[in-house]
Symmetry: D2
Amino acid sequence: MSKILDGPLLSSRELRSRNHVIALPGGAELGGRDVVLMAGPCAVEDPSQLERAAEAVRANGARVLRGGAFKPRTSPYSFQGLGRRGLEMLRAVADRLDMAVVTEVLTAEDVPLVAEHADMLQIGARNMANYRLLEEAGRSMRPVLLKRGLGATIEELLLAAEYVLAEGNQDVALCERGIRTFETATRFTTDINAIPILKQRSPLPVVLDPSHGTGQADLVGPVARAAVAAGADALLIEVHPSPQEALCDGAQSLDPVGFARMAAEVGRVAAAVGRGIG
Amino acid sequence: MSKILDGPLLSSRELRSRNHVIALPGGAELGGRDVVLMAGPCAVEDPSQLERAAEAVRANGARVLRGGAFKPRTSPYSFQGLGRRGLEMLRAVADRLDMAVVTEVLTAEDVPLVAEHADMLQIGARNMANYRLLEEAGRSMRPVLLKRGLGATIEELLLAAEYVLAEGNQDVALCERGIRTFETATRFTTDINAIPILKQRSPLPVVLDPSHGTGQADLVGPVARAAVAAGADALLIEVHPSPQEALCDGAQSLDPVGFARMAAEVGRVAAAVGRGIG
Amino acid sequence: MSKILDGPLLSSRELRSRNHVIALPGGAELGGRDVVLMAGPCAVEDPSQLERAAEAVRANGARVLRGGAFKPRTSPYSFQGLGRRGLEMLRAVADRLDMAVVTEVLTAEDVPLVAEHADMLQIGARNMANYRLLEEAGRSMRPVLLKRGLGATIEELLLAAEYVLAEGNQDVALCERGIRTFETATRFTTDINAIPILKQRSPLPVVLDPSHGTGQADLVGPVARAAVAAGADALLIEVHPSPQEALCDGAQSLDPVGFARMAAEVGRVAAAVGRGIG
Amino acid sequence: MSKILDGPLLSSRELRSRNHVIALPGGAELGGRDVVLMAGPCAVEDPSQLERAAEAVRANGARVLRGGAFKPRTSPYSFQGLGRRGLEMLRAVADRLDMAVVTEVLTAEDVPLVAEHADMLQIGARNMANYRLLEEAGRSMRPVLLKRGLGATIEELLLAAEYVLAEGNQDVALCERGIRTFETATRFTTDINAIPILKQRSPLPVVLDPSHGTGQADLVGPVARAAVAAGADALLIEVHPSPQEALCDGAQSLDPVGFARMAAEVGRVAAAVGRGIG
């Protein structure tokens, strides 16, 4: 890559005016006509938990299975994920249900391993400015789901995407997941303005994560609907068969019944803005 | 008023589990089945400007006319509003079009004057903690549209409402209008999480102001749709017949064509969540 | 006042390059060579409490007595202050100890009453954008201590000062008292950068309130020293004879021993930057 | 390492009540009696630039040379640093002047290379939650300068330090470098409250970076003095022989004359709080 900028950013509408579509196995098209549901547990815990979550979300329209095998944790003493075994479980369940897998990769060295098992690499909020990881994800040629840092501006998110794009990898989806503000009633503040701003500036698909954006299961539905109404191309949602027993993020995870209700409601809002769920 | 709290806040669901509805002249019911559109110019400038704005918003479903006669301005050298003459124009135009008037009152002394002309008193973000003004608005027994301070938490907004409610005035609507954050791509950050949180905690109607929440006319539509999808009971929107000539907030004002488009889109989203525009 | 701006702001260094000094009864000169200590209880509670606090701070170098007679409270159910009786107590104690009185005024109507008893009018953070109050304080010709709103920018603080200055009242001191940020370890975040920025831009005296800026008594000393090292002209500090019994802000109030220690430490830092305590 | 927490954090005062001192080559003792100056250019550009900067800071009391060989840049099109050659230059210049070297390491893989040339590894704000890098830095057994993320809380900074400490490496210094807030007059908001809070909670040395905390060379002096007055153990300061020609961060870099003045002023404040410069 020659790190020289002559002209507009690769992520800008100036270079590509039409929406960029990322096609995934299982039929989801990020940035296409339909709104894509990406759902599953915060962390892969065991085969049964993963299967029950996956079946529940697949039955309600999700074509992309999310789930953490490598978990970035604020404290070194928290559960850190199952690693390779988690990846294998994700792959097996997704194959059986004809879904795509998106999962987080924490380090540049892990990119080949994760890319071998997953269809899309998630770069988490904490790593948005981990440039070595961004470059390696770029070189993997796997689609990348890039989450906004919780203290990062929209412009910085677009510049982080540039690190992936500059490697020749065009398949980057931009994910709003809540920012740090003074408000303490919710874990983060979902920046809903970011959805239309990102759609204006960039042809890349825009995703919203209402689970992290709110931190509370009973707010996920309303904010998911809001995101679709504002133009989001996809939702990333945490679902656990028994949220109260989850090893991480139980408070913000939907259970299968809650996901079904949310998906139905989101479907109606999607129709109101001329889209389906797909 | 005896300023003694024994028991839950007057603004809480604990005291009143059912939604509180504020009925306004012209037929709007804030907090009722339908989503209410409150629209008009940032500032009343002259009869022709006000009429053209009012007719445009009335024709597209707005039953409440907004417009500033007393303007709080960051700089003492900016246009400060027409005062009483502006109130009279608002009243005359609203009566002719069978609309209600909501307009800002800046000081406790002005409450009687504004209450004489307006159907609903707006307390602006800068005055959310102006307790003397809140009390006087409470005593006026006019419905109050209380805007969240740009550095105020959701809890503080509810406690500010308490100052009005404690005077015996139950008709308070809570308005999210964007908060101060580190993001500079938009003028403020619309706190979409605040909509479902306020609806959970309080039976009072919840309003969103996407004009101030974004500061950019081309973001008003997407964020207005998002608000309704998230459960807002009303929208407060700035509309000017010629935004580029506006004496204040031109950049965030819709023109009549833009308002018509937004209203149609919002109507479809409202239907998707089981509501109409009314 | 003619609200027309032709030229630089009245608060800017462009108009007055030399520091503006506000001389108060009792000998304090805000903005002069020496650092001024303004101290006393959050709220005036009773004569004995006020006297003990005043004597303690006077004995340790404070020439200005602070204390709230009218208290702005987030909840209408909290103690609201003693009003006129509190003002009279402040005046009596200050006269006996040859100190100046600074106390908050909450409404425009109260300006004459407060101006009758106090030597300096405090406009609190919640009222920084209460323009009617600013104008009335301007017209009173009493020196004004203007606190920065907790969600207000430095530029907005300077524009708020402009409302006072435009009335012909030149005696405005600008007070940093902590802003709202995502950090929750302290009640507010003291914006220490604001001290040198304000000194650069404006000839007006700059005050820091470490009691509100931190919200914790054991942080007041370090942040008070920091403020003086950064160039603050005065400190505004809450002191209570028995903080654990205070009716408001006990957690951030120093006791007399703590104040004496802080004053001695601040004195050494002041000397290091070429100033005294006066 | 067994990632199991039984008891207080390794970074807490509960385990070690006495200040932890990190001794560096050249004689600096971070966390000891004297305040340590760590200074040098943002990026190592060429031997002449580095030498002139190093000589200037050494002559004015700095015993630790800072300088970036690997630069994390928001845009992939900005200057990325000289890499290994930059490290070699730092080593050579520091050896000649009897200084220690602190320099940033961006990736876990680079830790051995950087640890070979540097005396202290800097983990930058963007990488505060790059846990793989923290662990590798921990295993290197080199002292670590850990910068707070610009959207990270104080608690998260302490938990990030835990990743290093849990590897058995006790030599971690905690660095406040400004946080993201709504204020735009400065590049970041220096959280001065963080200094005494960190000193209370942890025995680890606390560093402040006024260059990044303010983003403006003319604010560096006042905020550096404030940090020392508040109890900081060290300052990290950008110095360039010709700031206007710097390849990065020129606006916030002091020139040699500015550094000399700042060091003298800081020395006087250090003396006022019972410390020297060393």
